[in-house]
Symmetry: C2
Subunit: 149 residues, 2 copies
């Protein structure tokens, strides 16, 4: 394999990741989901963890703090999330879903699973496992010291 070919993966990876996000976003839009793909990821993680600080949530979804601040801002504006001051630590917030947020997650979850499946037509469960293995290996190769997940 030549050097030249080795560089191709980054192009295909970026192109496919963008397509996956774009496809999902279009489906979200045509279904009037009222959230973006990234906002959904945050809502989903909040629904699976009763209370989280922004730092804990940032580590779960692998987004940086400024990005998460803005996503939380938007989700608060939409009424799906609330920032509650931490009782002991005045620097931090406890994030939790509102009632509206909980029912939003409940109603969207099955629809989103359906959207996500579309990408796997013509691919096998074995492909799925190999794909996850390779993605995780690449991630760890580039992630310096911390070999999380």
């Amino acid at each position: 394999m030549t050097q030249e070919q080795y560089s191709k993966y980054s192009f295909l990876l970026d192109r496919t990741a963008r397509k996956v996000k774009q496809y999902a976003q279009q489906q979200f839009k045509s279904g009037d989901f009222d959230v973006t793909v990234d906002q959904w990821l945050v809502l989903k993680n909040l629904s699976e963890n009763d209370v989280l600080s922004q730092t804990e949530l940032a580590n779960l979804v692998f987004k940086d703090h400024p990005t998460l601040t803005r996503i939380i801002d938007l989700l608060c504006k939409k009424g799906y999330v609330e920032r509650v001051p931490h009782p002991q630590d005045r620097r931090s917030f406890q994030l939790h879903l509102t009632e509206t947020g909980i029912s939003k997650v409940t109603s969207l979850r099955p629809e989103i699973h359906h959207i996500r499946e579309k990408a796997w037509e013509k691919l096998s469960p074995h492909d799925f496992e190999e794909f996850k293995r390779i993605l995780n290996t690449i991630y760890q190769n580039l992630n310096g010291e911390s070999l999380d997940q």
Copy 2:
């Protein structure tokens, strides 16, 4: 395989694509390359095609037209690319690298191949082929009618 597991790929794909871009961008920065990862992709494609219109280039790099307009703006400001009015069609430009742009590509190309290889530690040539196959299949599954590449 449950529905839940099937949704995981989109998270891993997005996370890994961001890591790949972030890692490359850090290396670009510490090497004072003076371009971003996306700007490099554009320069590279221009270097492999003598003259291109913005539309032709956009199709090559799979970026939409507004995004490409802005990247070209930046590359022109940096002196790597020139927009030359098309002799017959006054709507379009012929893009080409300047002398500075050509030498920039020549000097960066080997360094960037080196950076790109890092992701493939602990992975085999077979993994590489499987990875490309799966990425392309996903892309085509979500790409509606046009099954390019």
